[in-house]
Point group: C2
Protein backbone atom coordinates (compact mmCIF):
# COMPACT_ATOMS: atom_id res chain seq x y z
CA UNK A 1 0.00 0.00 0.00
CA UNK A 2 1.91 2.99 -1.24
CA UNK A 3 1.07 6.13 -3.17
CA UNK A 4 2.28 7.02 -6.66
CA UNK A 5 2.31 10.14 -8.78
CA UNK A 6 -0.53 8.60 -10.78
CA UNK A 7 -2.61 8.46 -7.60
CA UNK A 8 -1.89 12.16 -7.11
CA UNK A 9 -2.87 12.88 -10.71
CA UNK A 10 -6.11 10.94 -10.27
CA UNK A 11 -6.81 12.90 -7.11
CA UNK A 12 -6.22 16.15 -9.01
CA UNK A 13 -8.82 15.12 -11.57
CA UNK A 14 -11.35 14.43 -8.80
CA UNK A 15 -10.64 17.77 -7.14
CA UNK A 16 -10.90 19.82 -10.34
CA UNK A 17 -13.67 22.40 -9.96
CA UNK A 18 -14.24 21.44 -6.32
CA UNK A 19 -11.04 22.49 -4.54
CA UNK A 20 -9.65 25.93 -5.29
CA UNK A 21 -6.62 25.98 -7.53
CA UNK A 22 -4.84 28.22 -5.02
CA UNK A 23 -2.56 31.02 -6.20
CA UNK A 24 1.23 30.88 -6.08
CA UNK A 25 2.36 34.01 -4.26
CA UNK A 26 5.60 35.88 -4.85
CA UNK A 27 7.31 38.61 -2.84
CA UNK A 28 10.39 40.40 -4.11
CA UNK A 29 11.05 41.52 -0.55
CA UNK A 30 11.13 37.87 0.52
CA UNK A 31 13.35 36.90 -2.41
CA UNK A 32 15.82 39.64 -1.49
CA UNK A 33 15.82 38.65 2.19
CA UNK A 34 16.49 34.96 1.59
CA UNK A 35 18.58 35.23 -1.57
CA UNK A 36 16.43 32.92 -3.68
CA UNK A 37 13.36 33.02 -5.90
CA UNK A 38 10.57 31.79 -3.62
CA UNK A 39 7.22 30.44 -4.83
CA UNK A 40 4.60 30.08 -2.10
CA UNK A 41 1.66 27.78 -2.73
CA UNK A 42 -1.11 29.48 -0.78
CA UNK A 43 -3.13 26.65 0.72
CA UNK A 44 -4.33 29.06 3.39
CA UNK A 45 -6.57 30.30 0.56
CA UNK A 46 -7.93 26.78 0.00
CA UNK A 47 -11.56 26.02 0.90
CA UNK A 48 -12.00 25.84 4.70
CA UNK A 49 -8.57 27.49 4.96
CA UNK A 50 -6.11 24.60 4.65
CA UNK A 51 -4.76 21.89 2.34
CA UNK A 52 -6.71 19.30 4.36
CA UNK A 53 -9.75 19.65 2.13
CA UNK A 54 -7.82 18.02 -0.71
CA UNK A 55 -7.15 14.77 1.10
CA UNK A 56 -10.54 14.50 2.77
CA UNK A 57 -12.44 15.12 -0.43
CA UNK A 58 -10.30 12.72 -2.43
CA UNK A 59 -10.78 9.95 0.12
CA UNK A 60 -14.53 10.46 0.36
CA UNK A 61 -14.99 10.63 -3.38
CA UNK A 62 -13.52 7.12 -3.66
CA UNK A 63 -16.07 5.52 -1.33
CA UNK A 64 -18.59 3.12 -2.82
CA UNK A 65 -22.19 4.39 -3.09
CA UNK A 66 -23.07 1.99 -0.28
CA UNK A 67 -20.36 3.37 2.01
CA UNK A 68 -21.32 6.88 1.10
CA UNK A 69 -24.89 6.18 2.09
CA UNK A 70 -23.76 5.11 5.56
CA UNK A 71 -21.33 7.95 6.21
CA UNK A 72 -17.79 8.45 7.50
CA UNK A 73 -16.04 8.80 10.83
CA UNK A 74 -12.80 10.41 11.92
CA UNK A 75 -10.96 12.03 14.80
CA UNK A 76 -9.38 15.49 14.80
CA UNK A 77 -9.32 18.66 16.83
CA UNK A 78 -7.97 20.62 13.90
CA UNK A 79 -8.35 21.30 10.22
CA UNK A 80 -9.09 17.68 9.24
CA UNK A 81 -12.38 17.90 11.15
CA UNK A 82 -13.56 20.88 9.11
CA UNK A 83 -12.18 19.37 5.92
CA UNK A 84 -14.01 16.08 6.40
CA UNK A 85 -17.21 17.83 7.40
CA UNK A 86 -17.12 20.02 4.29
CA UNK A 87 -16.16 17.16 1.97
CA UNK A 88 -18.98 15.03 3.39
CA UNK A 89 -21.49 17.81 2.79
CA UNK A 90 -20.22 18.32 -0.78
CA UNK A 91 -20.60 14.61 -1.51
CA UNK A 92 -24.00 14.25 0.12
CA UNK A 93 -22.86 12.02 2.96
CA UNK A 94 -22.50 12.53 6.71
CA UNK A 95 -19.46 12.79 8.97
CA UNK A 96 -19.14 11.89 12.64
CA UNK A 97 -16.00 13.32 14.23
CA UNK A 98 -14.38 12.60 17.57
CA UNK A 99 -12.98 15.75 19.15
CA UNK A 100 -11.26 16.22 22.49
CA UNK A 101 -13.69 17.63 25.06
CA UNK A 102 -11.50 20.72 25.45
CA UNK A 103 -11.49 21.64 21.75
CA UNK A 104 -12.05 25.41 21.37
CA UNK A 105 -15.73 26.17 20.77
CA UNK A 106 -14.94 27.95 17.49
CA UNK A 107 -13.33 24.84 15.97
CA UNK A 108 -16.22 22.65 17.02
CA UNK A 109 -18.69 25.18 15.66
CA UNK A 110 -16.86 25.30 12.32
CA UNK A 111 -17.20 21.53 11.81
CA UNK A 112 -20.81 21.59 12.98
CA UNK A 113 -21.43 24.49 10.64
CA UNK A 114 -20.59 22.19 7.75
CA UNK A 115 -23.09 19.65 9.12
CA UNK A 116 -20.86 17.19 10.99
CA UNK A 117 -21.92 15.36 14.16
CA UNK A 118 -19.35 15.88 16.93
CA UNK A 119 -18.66 13.38 19.71
CA UNK A 120 -16.22 14.40 22.43
CA UNK A 121 -13.70 12.32 24.36
CA UNK A 122 -11.19 12.98 27.12
CA UNK A 123 -7.82 13.52 25.45
CA UNK A 124 -5.93 12.51 28.60
CA UNK A 125 -7.59 9.11 29.04
CA UNK A 126 -8.96 8.25 25.58
CA UNK A 127 -7.05 6.72 22.63
CA UNK A 128 -8.50 8.54 19.62
CA UNK A 129 -7.45 5.90 17.11
CA UNK A 130 -9.10 3.09 19.07
CA UNK A 131 -12.18 5.19 19.80
CA UNK A 132 -12.46 6.12 16.12
CA UNK A 133 -12.20 2.48 15.04
CA UNK A 134 -14.85 1.47 17.58
CA UNK A 135 -17.19 4.24 16.48
CA UNK A 136 -16.78 3.33 12.81
CA UNK A 137 -17.36 -0.37 13.50
CA UNK A 138 -20.39 0.22 15.69
CA UNK A 139 -22.16 2.50 13.20
CA UNK A 140 -20.86 0.90 10.00
CA UNK A 141 -18.99 4.06 8.97
CA UNK A 142 -15.85 4.34 6.82
CA UNK A 143 -12.97 5.62 8.93
CA UNK A 144 -11.00 8.42 7.25
CA UNK A 145 -8.06 9.26 9.54
CA UNK A 146 -6.23 12.59 9.20
CA UNK A 147 -3.15 11.19 7.42
CA UNK A 148 -2.78 7.40 7.63
CA UNK A 149 -4.69 6.71 4.43
CA UNK A 150 -3.36 6.49 0.85
CA UNK A 151 -6.24 8.50 -0.63
CA UNK A 152 -5.73 11.26 1.93
CA UNK A 153 -2.01 11.36 1.12
CA UNK A 154 -2.65 11.38 -2.64
CA UNK A 155 -5.10 14.25 -2.21
CA UNK A 156 -2.63 16.31 -0.18
CA UNK A 157 -0.06 15.78 -2.96
CA UNK A 158 -2.15 17.74 -5.43
CA UNK A 159 -1.02 21.09 -3.98
CA UNK A 160 2.62 20.35 -4.87
CA UNK A 161 1.52 19.03 -8.27
CA UNK A 162 -0.25 22.31 -9.05
CA UNK A 163 2.69 24.34 -7.77
CA UNK A 164 5.23 22.53 -9.95
CA UNK A 165 2.95 22.62 -12.99
CA UNK A 166 2.98 26.40 -12.60
CA UNK A 167 6.64 27.01 -11.73
CA UNK A 168 8.42 24.23 -13.59
CA UNK A 169 11.36 22.54 -11.92
CA UNK A 170 12.43 23.89 -8.51
CA UNK A 171 15.64 23.22 -6.61
CA UNK A 172 13.88 22.48 -3.33
CA UNK A 173 10.41 22.21 -1.84
CA UNK A 174 9.69 23.00 1.82
CA UNK A 175 6.65 21.35 3.38
CA UNK A 176 5.42 21.37 7.01
CA UNK A 177 5.40 17.97 8.70
CA UNK A 178 2.93 17.00 11.42
CA UNK A 179 1.59 13.47 11.00
CA UNK A 180 3.40 13.55 7.67
CA UNK A 181 0.54 13.31 5.18
CA UNK A 182 1.17 16.60 3.39
CA UNK A 183 4.89 15.89 3.28
CA UNK A 184 4.38 12.36 1.94
CA UNK A 185 1.92 13.49 -0.71
CA UNK A 186 4.10 16.45 -1.72
CA UNK A 187 7.22 14.29 -1.94
CA UNK A 188 5.37 11.73 -4.06
CA UNK A 189 4.23 14.43 -6.46
CA UNK A 190 7.46 16.44 -6.54
CA UNK A 191 9.83 13.50 -6.87
CA UNK A 192 7.53 11.95 -9.44
CA UNK A 193 7.84 15.07 -11.58
CA UNK A 194 11.43 16.04 -10.79
CA UNK A 195 13.48 13.19 -9.28
CA UNK A 196 16.35 15.54 -8.32
CA UNK A 197 14.26 18.00 -6.27
CA UNK A 198 15.45 18.44 -2.69
CA UNK A 199 12.55 17.58 -0.36
CA UNK A 200 12.70 19.42 2.95
CA UNK A 201 10.22 18.77 5.74
CA UNK A 202 9.81 21.48 8.38
CA UNK A 203 8.92 20.84 12.02
CA UNK A 204 8.69 22.98 15.15
CA UNK A 205 11.80 22.41 17.29
CA UNK A 206 9.72 21.01 20.12
CA UNK A 207 7.97 18.55 17.79
CA UNK A 208 10.83 16.95 15.87
CA UNK A 209 9.50 13.39 15.78
CA UNK A 210 9.94 13.08 12.02
CA UNK A 211 13.51 14.40 12.13
CA UNK A 212 14.41 11.95 14.90
CA UNK A 213 12.67 9.12 13.11
CA UNK A 214 14.47 9.77 9.84
CA UNK A 215 17.78 9.90 11.70
CA UNK A 216 17.03 6.63 13.52
CA UNK A 217 15.64 4.90 10.43
CA UNK A 218 12.50 3.98 12.37
CA UNK A 219 9.53 5.71 13.96
CA UNK A 220 10.53 7.43 17.17
CA UNK A 221 8.01 8.71 19.73
CA UNK A 222 8.65 11.96 21.61
CA UNK A 223 6.77 13.56 24.52
CA UNK A 224 3.69 15.45 23.33
CA UNK A 225 5.23 18.67 21.96
CA UNK A 226 4.56 22.10 23.44
CA UNK A 227 4.50 24.48 20.49
CA UNK A 228 2.26 27.18 19.04
CA UNK A 229 2.17 25.06 15.86
CA UNK A 230 -0.78 22.97 17.05
CA UNK A 231 -1.24 21.35 13.66
CA UNK A 232 2.25 19.86 13.98
CA UNK A 233 2.06 18.65 17.56
CA UNK A 234 2.30 14.97 16.55
CA UNK A 235 4.38 12.82 18.89
CA UNK A 236 5.20 10.09 16.35
CA UNK A 237 5.05 9.93 12.54
CA UNK A 238 2.35 7.79 10.92
CA UNK A 239 3.37 4.30 9.77
CA UNK A 240 2.28 4.82 6.20
CA UNK A 241 3.46 8.43 5.98
CA UNK A 242 6.84 7.52 7.47
CA UNK A 243 7.31 4.63 5.03
CA UNK A 244 6.97 7.19 2.23
CA UNK A 245 8.90 10.03 3.84
CA UNK A 246 11.91 7.89 4.76
CA UNK A 247 12.23 7.05 1.09
CA UNK A 248 11.62 10.49 -0.42
CA UNK A 249 12.54 13.20 2.09
CA UNK A 250 16.11 14.50 2.18
CA UNK A 251 16.13 16.48 5.40
CA UNK A 252 14.12 18.18 8.10
CA UNK A 253 14.53 21.85 9.05
CA UNK A 254 13.50 22.91 12.56
CA UNK A 255 12.05 26.27 13.60
CA UNK A 256 11.36 27.84 16.98
CA UNK A 257 8.03 29.29 18.05
CA UNK A 258 9.54 32.80 17.84
CA UNK A 259 10.65 32.15 14.26
CA UNK A 260 7.11 31.00 13.47
CA UNK A 261 5.71 34.21 14.98
CA UNK A 262 8.10 36.28 12.87
CA UNK A 263 7.01 34.43 9.73
CA UNK A 264 3.33 34.98 10.57
CA UNK A 265 4.02 38.72 11.01
CA UNK A 266 5.98 38.83 7.75
CA UNK A 267 3.15 37.08 5.89
CA UNK A 268 0.64 39.52 7.39
CA UNK A 269 2.54 42.77 6.88
CA UNK A 270 4.51 42.10 3.72
CA UNK A 271 2.35 39.57 1.85
CA UNK A 272 -1.08 40.48 3.29
CA UNK A 273 -2.10 36.89 3.96
CA UNK A 274 -3.04 35.14 7.20
CA UNK A 275 -1.12 32.06 8.28
CA UNK A 276 -1.78 29.90 11.31
CA UNK A 277 1.40 28.81 13.12
CA UNK A 278 1.57 25.37 11.44
CA UNK A 279 0.99 27.01 8.08
CA UNK A 280 3.97 29.33 8.53
CA UNK A 281 6.78 26.92 9.39
CA UNK A 282 8.11 26.56 5.83
CA UNK A 283 8.32 30.32 5.47
CA UNK A 284 9.87 30.53 8.94
CA UNK A 285 12.61 28.09 7.93
CA UNK A 286 13.54 30.29 4.98
CA UNK A 287 13.37 33.62 6.80
CA UNK A 288 15.43 32.37 9.73
CA UNK A 289 18.13 30.84 7.53
CA UNK A 290 17.44 27.32 8.77
CA UNK A 291 18.01 25.81 5.32
CA UNK A 292 21.63 25.57 4.24
CA UNK A 293 22.86 25.94 0.66
CA UNK A 294 19.53 27.23 -0.56
CA UNK A 295 19.08 26.62 -4.30
CA UNK A 296 18.16 29.48 -6.66
CA UNK A 297 14.47 28.56 -6.96
CA UNK A 298 12.50 27.27 -4.00
CA UNK A 299 8.89 26.25 -3.41
CA UNK A 300 7.08 26.42 -0.07
CA UNK A 301 3.66 25.16 0.85
CA UNK A 302 2.05 27.67 3.18
CA UNK A 303 -0.46 25.18 4.38
CA UNK A 304 -3.19 26.82 6.43
CA UNK A 305 -4.64 30.05 7.76
CA UNK A 306 -7.21 29.08 10.37
CA UNK A 307 -6.62 31.38 13.30
CA UNK A 308 -9.05 33.85 14.79
CA UNK A 309 -8.12 37.51 14.97
CA UNK A 310 -7.95 37.57 18.77
CA UNK A 311 -5.56 34.59 18.92
CA UNK A 312 -3.44 36.13 16.16
CA UNK A 313 -3.18 39.36 18.12
CA UNK A 314 -2.24 37.44 21.27
CA UNK A 315 0.54 35.58 19.45
CA UNK A 316 1.89 38.40 17.32
CA UNK A 317 1.31 41.66 19.11
CA UNK A 318 3.04 42.44 22.37
CA UNK A 319 0.67 43.71 25.06
CA UNK A 320 0.86 47.52 24.77
CA UNK A 321 3.08 49.40 27.22
CA UNK A 322 1.29 49.98 30.47
CA UNK A 323 -1.36 47.34 29.85
CA UNK A 324 -1.85 44.53 32.32
CA UNK A 325 -3.89 41.47 31.62
CA UNK A 326 -5.53 40.53 34.90
CA UNK B 1 -8.69 65.08 -21.42
CA UNK B 2 -10.58 61.93 -20.63
CA UNK B 3 -9.75 58.26 -20.34
CA UNK B 4 -11.00 55.47 -22.60
CA UNK B 5 -11.02 51.70 -22.44
CA UNK B 6 -8.21 51.74 -25.00
CA UNK B 7 -6.09 53.75 -22.55
CA UNK B 8 -6.78 51.07 -19.95
CA UNK B 9 -5.84 48.33 -22.41
CA UNK B 10 -2.60 50.14 -23.26
CA UNK B 11 -1.85 50.46 -19.56
CA UNK B 12 -2.45 46.72 -19.13
CA UNK B 13 0.12 46.01 -21.84
CA UNK B 14 2.68 48.23 -20.07
CA UNK B 15 1.99 46.52 -16.72
CA UNK B 16 2.24 42.96 -18.08
CA UNK B 17 5.01 41.12 -16.27
CA UNK B 18 5.62 44.06 -13.92
CA UNK B 19 2.46 44.28 -11.81
CA UNK B 20 1.07 41.06 -10.36
CA UNK B 21 -1.98 39.70 -12.09
CA UNK B 22 -3.71 39.40 -8.72
CA UNK B 23 -5.99 36.44 -7.98
CA UNK B 24 -9.77 36.64 -7.92
CA UNK B 25 -10.88 35.21 -4.59
CA UNK B 26 -14.14 33.38 -3.92
CA UNK B 27 -15.79 32.38 -0.66
CA UNK B 28 -18.87 30.18 -0.59
CA UNK B 29 -19.51 31.41 2.94
CA UNK B 30 -19.60 34.97 1.63
CA UNK B 31 -21.85 34.02 -1.27
CA UNK B 32 -24.29 32.37 1.14
CA UNK B 33 -24.26 35.36 3.49
CA UNK B 34 -24.95 37.97 0.83
CA UNK B 35 -27.07 35.87 -1.53
CA UNK B 36 -24.95 36.46 -4.62
CA UNK B 37 -21.90 35.06 -6.38
CA UNK B 38 -19.09 37.40 -5.31
CA UNK B 39 -15.76 37.76 -7.12
CA UNK B 40 -13.12 39.67 -5.17
CA UNK B 41 -10.19 41.13 -7.08
CA UNK B 42 -7.39 40.92 -4.51
CA UNK B 43 -5.37 44.09 -5.03
CA UNK B 44 -4.14 43.74 -1.45
CA UNK B 45 -1.91 41.06 -3.02
CA UNK B 46 -0.58 43.56 -5.57
CA UNK B 47 3.05 44.70 -5.35
CA UNK B 48 3.52 47.08 -2.40
CA UNK B 49 0.11 45.92 -1.17
CA UNK B 50 -2.36 48.06 -3.11
CA UNK B 51 -3.75 48.87 -6.57
CA UNK B 52 -1.80 52.15 -6.50
CA UNK B 53 1.22 50.54 -8.14
CA UNK B 54 -0.74 50.15 -11.36
CA UNK B 55 -1.42 53.85 -11.83
CA UNK B 56 1.98 55.05 -10.69
CA UNK B 57 3.86 52.64 -12.93
CA UNK B 58 1.67 53.39 -15.94
CA UNK B 59 2.16 57.14 -15.55
CA UNK B 60 5.92 56.86 -15.08
CA UNK B 61 6.35 54.51 -18.01
CA UNK B 62 4.84 57.16 -20.31
CA UNK B 63 7.40 59.82 -19.41
CA UNK B 64 9.88 60.87 -22.07
CA UNK B 65 13.47 59.68 -21.60
CA UNK B 66 14.36 63.27 -20.78
CA UNK B 67 11.70 63.55 -18.07
CA UNK B 68 12.67 60.17 -16.73
CA UNK B 69 16.26 61.30 -16.39
CA UNK B 70 15.15 64.25 -14.23
CA UNK B 71 12.75 62.34 -11.98
CA UNK B 72 9.24 62.74 -10.61
CA UNK B 73 7.52 64.44 -7.70
CA UNK B 74 4.32 63.80 -5.82
CA UNK B 75 2.50 64.22 -2.52
CA UNK B 76 0.96 61.44 -0.44
CA UNK B 77 0.95 60.10 3.08
CA UNK B 78 -0.43 56.79 1.93
CA UNK B 79 -0.10 54.04 -0.64
CA UNK B 80 0.61 56.36 -3.59
CA UNK B 81 3.92 57.31 -1.97
CA UNK B 82 5.09 53.71 -1.86
CA UNK B 83 3.67 53.03 -5.30
CA UNK B 84 5.48 55.94 -6.88
CA UNK B 85 8.71 55.12 -5.09
CA UNK B 86 8.60 51.52 -6.28
CA UNK B 87 7.60 52.44 -9.83
CA UNK B 88 10.44 54.97 -9.99
CA UNK B 89 12.93 52.38 -8.86
CA UNK B 90 11.64 49.86 -11.40
CA UNK B 91 12.00 52.39 -14.20
CA UNK B 92 15.40 53.66 -13.15
CA UNK B 93 14.27 57.13 -12.18
CA UNK B 94 13.96 58.97 -8.87
CA UNK B 95 10.94 60.10 -6.85
CA UNK B 96 10.66 63.03 -4.44
CA UNK B 97 7.55 62.84 -2.28
CA UNK B 98 5.95 65.41 -0.02
CA UNK B 99 4.60 63.83 3.14
CA UNK B 100 2.93 65.46 6.15
CA UNK B 101 5.41 65.85 9.01
CA UNK B 102 3.24 63.61 11.21
CA UNK B 103 3.20 60.67 8.77
CA UNK B 104 3.75 57.42 10.70
CA UNK B 105 7.42 56.42 10.63
CA UNK B 106 6.61 53.03 9.08
CA UNK B 107 4.97 54.63 6.04
CA UNK B 108 7.85 57.01 5.53
CA UNK B 109 10.33 54.16 5.91
CA UNK B 110 8.46 52.08 3.33
CA UNK B 111 8.76 54.79 0.67
CA UNK B 112 12.39 55.44 1.60
CA UNK B 113 13.02 51.70 1.45
CA UNK B 114 12.13 51.85 -2.24
CA UNK B 115 14.62 54.69 -2.66
CA UNK B 116 12.40 57.78 -2.62
CA UNK B 117 13.46 61.14 -1.20
CA UNK B 118 10.94 62.38 1.38
CA UNK B 119 10.26 66.05 2.10
CA UNK B 120 7.87 66.87 4.93
CA UNK B 121 5.36 69.71 5.29
CA UNK B 122 2.90 70.82 7.92
CA UNK B 123 -0.49 69.40 6.96
CA UNK B 124 -2.34 72.10 8.91
CA UNK B 125 -0.70 75.05 7.21
CA UNK B 126 0.61 73.69 3.90
CA UNK B 127 -1.34 73.14 0.65
CA UNK B 128 0.07 69.90 -0.72
CA UNK B 129 -1.03 70.51 -4.29
CA UNK B 130 0.62 73.94 -4.41
CA UNK B 131 3.73 72.68 -2.61
CA UNK B 132 3.98 69.74 -5.01
CA UNK B 133 3.67 72.01 -8.05
CA UNK B 134 6.34 74.35 -6.66
CA UNK B 135 8.69 71.47 -5.91
CA UNK B 136 8.24 70.01 -9.39
CA UNK B 137 8.80 73.39 -11.06
CA UNK B 138 11.85 74.22 -8.98
CA UNK B 139 13.60 70.90 -9.65
CA UNK B 140 12.28 70.28 -13.16
CA UNK B 141 10.42 67.14 -12.07
CA UNK B 142 7.27 65.63 -13.59
CA UNK B 143 4.41 65.87 -11.10
CA UNK B 144 2.44 62.61 -10.75
CA UNK B 145 -0.46 63.30 -8.38
CA UNK B 146 -2.28 60.43 -6.64
CA UNK B 147 -5.39 60.50 -8.85
CA UNK B 148 -5.79 63.67 -10.92
CA UNK B 149 -3.92 62.32 -13.94
CA UNK B 150 -5.27 60.36 -16.95
CA UNK B 151 -2.39 57.86 -16.97
CA UNK B 152 -2.86 57.17 -13.26
CA UNK B 153 -6.59 56.61 -13.80
CA UNK B 154 -5.98 54.35 -16.82
CA UNK B 155 -3.51 52.29 -14.78
CA UNK B 156 -5.95 51.86 -11.91
CA UNK B 157 -8.54 50.63 -14.42
CA UNK B 158 -6.46 47.58 -15.26
CA UNK B 159 -7.56 45.76 -12.10
CA UNK B 160 -11.21 45.84 -13.20
CA UNK B 161 -10.15 44.87 -16.73
CA UNK B 162 -8.38 41.75 -15.42
CA UNK B 163 -11.30 40.90 -13.16
CA UNK B 164 -13.87 41.06 -15.96
CA UNK B 165 -11.62 39.16 -18.37
CA UNK B 166 -11.62 36.37 -15.81
CA UNK B 167 -15.26 36.41 -14.70
CA UNK B 168 -17.07 37.52 -17.84
CA UNK B 169 -20.00 39.89 -17.46
CA UNK B 170 -21.03 40.84 -13.92
CA UNK B 171 -24.23 42.50 -12.76
CA UNK B 172 -22.43 45.05 -10.59
CA UNK B 173 -18.96 46.16 -9.59
CA UNK B 174 -18.19 47.69 -6.18
CA UNK B 175 -15.15 49.95 -5.93
CA UNK B 176 -13.90 52.08 -3.02
CA UNK B 177 -13.86 55.81 -3.69
CA UNK B 178 -11.37 58.22 -2.09
CA UNK B 179 -10.06 60.79 -4.56
CA UNK B 180 -11.91 58.75 -7.16
CA UNK B 181 -9.07 57.45 -9.35
CA UNK B 182 -9.72 53.75 -8.83
CA UNK B 183 -13.44 54.26 -9.28
CA UNK B 184 -12.96 56.30 -12.47
CA UNK B 185 -10.52 53.80 -13.96
CA UNK B 186 -12.69 50.84 -13.00
CA UNK B 187 -15.82 52.44 -14.41
CA UNK B 188 -14.01 53.24 -17.66
CA UNK B 189 -12.87 49.63 -18.00
CA UNK B 190 -16.10 47.98 -16.83
CA UNK B 191 -18.50 50.17 -18.83
CA UNK B 192 -16.23 49.86 -21.84
CA UNK B 193 -16.54 46.09 -21.70
CA UNK B 194 -20.10 45.80 -20.45
CA UNK B 195 -22.16 48.98 -20.91
CA UNK B 196 -24.99 47.66 -18.69
CA UNK B 197 -22.87 46.90 -15.61
CA UNK B 198 -24.04 48.70 -12.46
CA UNK B 199 -21.12 50.76 -11.12
CA UNK B 200 -21.24 51.24 -7.37
CA UNK B 201 -18.72 53.41 -5.55
CA UNK B 202 -18.26 52.81 -1.82
CA UNK B 203 -17.35 55.49 0.72
CA UNK B 204 -17.10 55.65 4.49
CA UNK B 205 -20.18 57.36 5.93
CA UNK B 206 -18.08 60.19 7.34
CA UNK B 207 -16.36 60.77 3.98
CA UNK B 208 -19.26 60.91 1.51
CA UNK B 209 -17.94 63.72 -0.68
CA UNK B 210 -18.42 61.72 -3.89
CA UNK B 211 -21.97 60.73 -2.97
CA UNK B 212 -22.86 64.35 -2.20
CA UNK B 213 -21.15 65.55 -5.34
CA UNK B 214 -22.99 63.09 -7.57
CA UNK B 215 -26.28 64.10 -5.95
CA UNK B 216 -25.53 67.78 -6.45
CA UNK B 217 -24.19 67.35 -9.98
CA UNK B 218 -21.04 69.24 -9.01
CA UNK B 219 -18.05 68.81 -6.73
CA UNK B 220 -19.01 69.34 -3.10
CA UNK B 221 -16.45 69.81 -0.32
CA UNK B 222 -17.06 68.34 3.14
CA UNK B 223 -15.15 68.79 6.40
CA UNK B 224 -12.04 66.55 6.54
CA UNK B 225 -13.59 63.15 7.37
CA UNK B 226 -12.88 61.28 10.59
CA UNK B 227 -12.84 57.61 9.65
CA UNK B 228 -10.59 54.58 10.07
CA UNK B 229 -10.53 54.37 6.25
CA UNK B 230 -7.59 56.77 5.94
CA UNK B 231 -7.18 56.04 2.23
CA UNK B 232 -10.66 57.44 1.64
CA UNK B 233 -10.44 60.53 3.79
CA UNK B 234 -10.73 62.90 0.80
CA UNK B 235 -12.81 66.01 1.40
CA UNK B 236 -13.66 66.70 -2.24
CA UNK B 237 -13.55 64.56 -5.40
CA UNK B 238 -10.89 65.31 -8.00
CA UNK B 239 -11.93 67.43 -10.98
CA UNK B 240 -10.87 64.89 -13.57
CA UNK B 241 -12.03 61.86 -11.58
CA UNK B 242 -15.40 63.49 -10.89
CA UNK B 243 -15.90 64.36 -14.56
CA UNK B 244 -15.58 60.64 -15.30
CA UNK B 245 -17.48 59.32 -12.30
CA UNK B 246 -20.50 61.59 -12.79
CA UNK B 247 -20.85 60.07 -16.25
CA UNK B 248 -20.22 56.41 -15.41
CA UNK B 249 -21.11 55.73 -11.76
CA UNK B 250 -24.68 54.74 -10.88
CA UNK B 251 -24.66 55.08 -7.12
CA UNK B 252 -22.59 55.31 -3.96
CA UNK B 253 -22.98 52.92 -1.01
CA UNK B 254 -21.91 54.16 2.44
CA UNK B 255 -20.44 52.07 5.26
CA UNK B 256 -19.72 52.83 8.89
CA UNK B 257 -16.36 52.28 10.58
CA UNK B 258 -17.87 49.35 12.52
CA UNK B 259 -19.01 47.75 9.27
CA UNK B 260 -15.48 48.20 7.91
CA UNK B 261 -14.05 46.51 11.02
CA UNK B 262 -16.45 43.59 10.59
CA UNK B 263 -15.39 43.20 6.96
CA UNK B 264 -11.71 43.24 7.92
CA UNK B 265 -12.36 40.52 10.50
CA UNK B 266 -14.36 38.49 7.97
CA UNK B 267 -11.55 38.78 5.42
CA UNK B 268 -9.02 37.70 8.04
CA UNK B 269 -10.92 34.80 9.58
CA UNK B 270 -12.92 33.45 6.66
CA UNK B 271 -10.79 34.36 3.64
CA UNK B 272 -7.33 34.50 5.28
CA UNK B 273 -6.33 37.78 3.70
CA UNK B 274 -5.36 41.11 5.24
CA UNK B 275 -7.29 44.23 4.29
CA UNK B 276 -6.61 47.76 5.44
CA UNK B 277 -9.77 49.73 6.27
CA UNK B 278 -9.97 51.50 2.88
CA UNK B 279 -9.42 48.16 1.17
CA UNK B 280 -12.38 46.59 2.92
CA UNK B 281 -15.20 49.05 2.21
CA UNK B 282 -16.55 47.21 -0.85
CA UNK B 283 -16.76 43.97 1.09
CA UNK B 284 -18.27 45.88 4.02
CA UNK B 285 -21.03 47.25 1.80
CA UNK B 286 -21.99 43.72 0.74
CA UNK B 287 -21.78 42.14 4.19
CA UNK B 288 -23.82 44.89 5.81
CA UNK B 289 -26.53 44.82 3.17
CA UNK B 290 -25.86 48.38 2.06
CA UNK B 291 -26.47 47.53 -1.60
CA UNK B 292 -30.11 47.09 -2.58
CA UNK B 293 -31.38 44.66 -5.22
CA UNK B 294 -28.05 42.90 -5.48
CA UNK B 295 -27.63 41.15 -8.85
CA UNK B 296 -26.72 37.45 -9.05
CA UNK B 297 -23.04 38.02 -9.87
CA UNK B 298 -21.05 40.81 -8.28
CA UNK B 299 -17.44 41.98 -8.45
CA UNK B 300 -15.60 43.82 -5.68
CA UNK B 301 -12.16 45.37 -5.73
CA UNK B 302 -10.53 44.74 -2.37
CA UNK B 303 -8.03 47.44 -2.92
CA UNK B 304 -5.26 47.34 -0.33
CA UNK B 305 -3.77 45.53 2.65
CA UNK B 306 -1.19 47.86 4.14
CA UNK B 307 -1.74 47.75 7.87
CA UNK B 308 0.70 46.63 10.50
CA UNK B 309 -0.21 43.80 12.84
CA UNK B 310 -0.35 46.02 15.93
CA UNK B 311 -2.73 48.52 14.31
CA UNK B 312 -4.88 45.65 13.03
CA UNK B 313 -5.11 44.20 16.53
CA UNK B 314 -6.02 47.63 17.93
CA UNK B 315 -8.83 48.06 15.39
CA UNK B 316 -10.19 44.52 15.36
CA UNK B 317 -9.59 42.93 18.73
CA UNK B 318 -11.31 44.18 21.84
CA UNK B 319 -8.95 44.66 24.79
CA UNK B 320 -9.16 41.36 26.71
CA UNK B 321 -11.36 41.21 29.81
CA UNK B 322 -9.56 42.54 32.83
CA UNK B 323 -6.90 44.33 30.80
CA UNK B 324 -6.36 48.01 31.27
CA UNK B 325 -4.34 50.17 28.97
CA UNK B 326 -2.78 52.78 31.20
Amino acid sequence: MSVTIDDVRDAAARLAGVAHRTPVLRSRTLDALVGAEVHLKAENLQRMGAFKFRGAYNALSRLSPRQRARGVASFSSGNHAQALALAARELGTTAVILMPADTPASKRAAAEGYGAEIITYDRYTGDRVALGAALAAERGLALIPPYEHPDVIAGQGTAALELLEETGELGALLVPAGGGGLLAGSATAARGLHPAIRMIGVEPEAGDDTRRSLAAGERVAIPVPRTIADGQAADIPGELTFSINRRLVDEIALVTDDQIRDAMRFAFERMRVVLEPSGATGLAALLSGRVERLPARVGVIISGGNIDAARFAELICPVPDGATVG
